[in-house]
Symmetry: C2
Subunit: 401 residues, 2 copies
C-alpha cells in the first residue's frame, strides 16, 4: 500500500462545507488504496483574526506568544477535519505539530524544521488511520510551540513526505503552475511538469504558488510535489527532477515583477574597493539587491545599475547619498518606473542564444530594455511598465507559453 501526503490550504478548509468536501476527496484517495497523511492550514482568515487581537494589545507582541496564539488556527482545522472524516465512517486522528514530532530550531514565527520523529505517525498509519496534521507548526527544544513563517504549511507537508519517502500533493485554489500568470495573459498554459530548479526561480520571482523553501526541501530529498486544485478534479502540475521525460524547452515560464525600482550609479571610479564599499554598505543594512549590471570601464569609470524592492528604496537612498558624499564624482539616478520581466527555462543550459533571440523579439515590438541580467536558467529584463503587455504577448506567443 502506497503512502501519500496531501496538503490543503486555508481557502480549501475555509468553511464547514469545504472541510466536508476535503474529507470526501481524502476518502476517495483512501478507498483507492492509499495510506494518507493530510496537512491542513488554518481556516480562511482565522490567522488574521488572531493577529488582529494581538495587535490590539501590542504593536510588537512577543513572538513566543504569537506562536502560542496563531498555532490554535491549525488545531481547529485538524479537529474539524478529523470529525468530518469520522462522521463519514473513516478512522482518523488529528495531531498537532508537537504531537506529530515536528522538531524545530530558530526563532519564533520563523522556525525551521530540524527533525521529524515519525514514530506516532507510523503507528497510526499502521492502524490504517487517516492522519491529520496541523501545518505551519512545530515544537522546539524548550517544548515551546513554534511556527514556520511564510510557506510554513507547504514546508510541513513536504518535510513529512520527505520523511515518509512518498509524493506530496498540494491542493490549493489554483489548478496548477502556469507558464505565466493567467491574470496577465489569458491564453497562458498550465504546465504538466516543471523541474525543481525552474520552480525555484519562478517561486523566488513571486510567480509560483509554492514557497521556495518547500521546493528546495523536495529537491533535496527528490520528492515529487503535485500542485492541483482542491475544488476541481483535474490533474495539476508535477514538480520533480528534470529528466529525460521532460521536454527541455528553452522557456518554461515567464514572471513579471512590478515591485522593484532601478538605481543607476554613473561615473563610479573603476576600483573594486569602491564597488565593494557600495554593496557592503547596502548589505549591512539588509537591503535586498536583485539585478546587478556593471558596464565595462570607460575613461576609468564604470556605470553600475541594480534593482531594490520599492519598500527599501528610501533606506537605500540614504545609504547611497553617503557614498556620493564620500566619492563626489558618482552621480545617482533613480528609476521608479520599471518592470522586471524574467524568463525561466532549464533548456537554456543546453541551448545558447536565448537572451539574444528575446532581444530580437523585444526590438521587433519596440520595447526598450533598460538592463539585463542572466543566470544559468533565468534571464531578467528591466523594461518600462508601459511596454510590459506587448513584451509579455510577443514572448508568450513565440514560445507558446
Amino acid at each position: 500500500m502506497k503512502t501519500i501526503v496531501q496538503k490543503y490550504g486555508g481557502t480549501s478548509v475555509g468553511s464547514i462545507d469545504r472541510i466536508q468536501n476535503v474529507a470526501k476527496r481524502i476518502i476517495k484517495k483512501k478507498e483507492a488504496g492509499h495510506r494518507i497523511v493530510v496537512i491542513v492550514s488554518a481556516m480562511g482568515d482565522n490567522t488574521d483574526r488572531l493577529l488582529d487581537m494581538a495587535n490590539q494589545i501590542s504593536k510588537n507582541p512577543p513572538k513566543r506568544e504569537i506562536d502560542m496564539l496563531i498555532s490554535t488556527g491549525e488545531q481547529v482545522s485538524i479537529a474539524l477535519l478529523s470529525m468530518a472524516l469520522q462522521e463519514m465512517g473513516h478512522d482518523a486522528i488529528s495531531l498537532t505539530g508537537s504531537q506529530v514530532g515536528i522538531k524545530t530550531v530558530g526563532g519564533h514565527t520563523r522556525s525551521k524544521i530540524s527533525e521529524i520523529d515519525d514514530a506516532t505517525l507510523q503507528k497510526h498509519l499502521k492502524d490504517e488511520k487517516i492522519v491529520i496534521v496541523a501545518g505551519f507548526q512545530g515544537v522546539n527544544e524548550e517544548k515551546d510551540i513554534t511556527t514556520l513563517g511564510r510557506g510554513g504549511s507547504d514546508t510541513s507537508a513536504v518535510a513529512i513526505a520527505c520523511k515518509l519517502q512518498c509524493p506530496c500533493e498540494i491542493y490549493t485554489d489554483v489548478d496548477g503552475i502556469y507558464s505565466l500568470d493567467p491574470r496577465r495573459y489569458a491564453p497562458a498554459k498550465k504546465l504538466d511538469a516543471i523541474s525543481y530548479e525552474e520552480m525555484l526561480e519562478m517561486a523566488s520571482l513571486g510567480a509560483g504558488v509554492m514557497h521556495p523553501r518547500a521546493v528546495e526541501l523536495a529537491q533535496k530529498f527528490n520528492i515529487p510535489i503535485i500542485v492541483a486544485s482542491s475544488l476541481e478534479e483535474k490533474p495539476g502540475t508535477i514538480i520533480k527532477e528534470s529528466g529525460n521525460d521532460m521536454e527541455n524547452t528553452e522557456i518554461t515560464g515567464l514572471a513579471i515583477d512590478n515591485d522593484d525600482v532601478m538605481i543607476d550609479l554613473d561615473y563610479v571610479p573603476h576600483d573594486i574597493k569602491i564597488t565593494a564599499d557600495i554593496f557592503d554598505s547596502l548589505a549591512k543594512d539588509q537591503i535586498n539587491i536583485d539585478m546587478i549590471s556593471q558596464t565595462s570601464p570607460h575613461e576609468n569609470n564604470v556605470n553600475i545599475s541594480f534593482t531594490v524592492p520599492k519598500t527599501e528604496l528610501s533606506e537605500a537612498k540614504q545609504l547611497l547619498q553617503k557614498i556620493c558624499v564620500k566619492y563626489p564624482q558618482i552621480k545617482m539616478k533613480i528609476n521608479e518606473d520599471i518592470t522586471k520581466l524574467s524568463v525561466v527555462g532549464i533548456g537554456m543550459r543546453s541551448q545558447s542564444g536565448v537572451a539574444g533571440r528575446i532581444f530580437v523579439l523585444l526590438a521587433k515590438a519596440n520595447v526598450e530594455v533598460l538592463m539585463v541580467t542572466t543566470s544559468e536558467i533565468k534571464i531578467s529584463y528591466a523594461i518600462r511598465p508601459s511596454d510590459q503587455q506587448k513584451a509579455v504577448e510577443i514572448i508568450a506567443s513565440e514560445y507558446d507559453l
Copy 2:
C-alpha cells in the same frame, strides 16, 4: 515571597479590554510582593462558537477531537494575557495544560487530574515570571489533549494551588458567595466565609458559584479558596475549613431548585425486595434520584416519594409503569409542581431542632410541606412553587441570611 494562584473566568477575559484589565490586577498583586500563577478560561462564548462548528459536522462528534478543538479557546486566552502583561513591562509566560504538566486520566471531555508535574512551573516562578496557565485542559498518557468538563478551569486552579500549597483566588462575575441567590431575595447577604462542607452542599444544589469537584479538592488538601469579583475591588468570600474562628451559625445558606418533579408511589407492599426492585431499575437507567422519603408501614403497605430532574421524568415514568404492571396494587402519582428549598449550615451538627424550628416558621406562613429529607448539614423541603417566595422570605429574615 508568597505564591498565589488566581483564576479568571470566561467573562473576565471576554474582550481585549477585559484582558488588559485582568493584567493590571495581576500586576498589582505581583507588585505587592507575590509569586503569581494565573489560570484562565476561554474568552466569553468562544467555546460555544467552536462547539457549534463541531455540531455542524456531527451530532455526536468524537470526544478526542472535541478536546483537540475546544482546548484552543484557553490557548488563545493565555497567549493574549501573557502579551498584555509583557506589554505592561512584566515578565510572563503562557503554558498549555500539557506544558504545565497537568496529567489526566479518564474519558475525553470529562477527564480527571491525576498528577501535576510542577517542574516547569517552579522553574518559571523561580525566574520571577508571571505564569499563565490554560485552565480546563490537560494531557493523558497517550499525549492526547484532554479537557476536564464542567467546572474544569476552577479545578485546574485549585489543583495547582494544592500542588503549590498556596491559596487560590477565583475571580468571577459575582462578588462572592451569597447566603441565597440575590435575584430571588434582594436583601441576601454576601458571606465572609463558608466551610468546604457547606459550600459543597450549596454547590451541589446548584446554588454555588463553584463546582463541587473544585471545592472537594481544596477540602482534601485544605487549601483556602477566595471567590471575588474580577471587575470590582471588594473582598469576596473565603471557602475554608470550619474552625473556631467561624461562627457555627445554624443556617449559612438557602438554595432553591425548580428543576425537579416529585413522584409518589402509594400502596407499595412493605417488602425490601420490592423497594430495591424499584430503585434498582431507576439506577440502571441512570435516573438521578434526589430526595427520598418513605412512610412507616400501614396495613403492611408503605408510601414512597422521591424527586427526579424534570428532564428525566419521561424515562422514569416508563420504568415505573413497568413496576406498576409487575405489582398492580402500586399507584403512581406525579407532581410536576414543586420547588425544592434547602437550608445548609454546619451548625446543624451541634444544634438540634433546626428542622422543627423551620417547620414552625413555614406553618406560620401557611406553607404546605410536601416532603422533607435531612442530611447532617442540610434539610430539604419540597413545597409548592406558589409558596416559594413567602417561604424564602420568612426563613431568610428569621436567620438573617
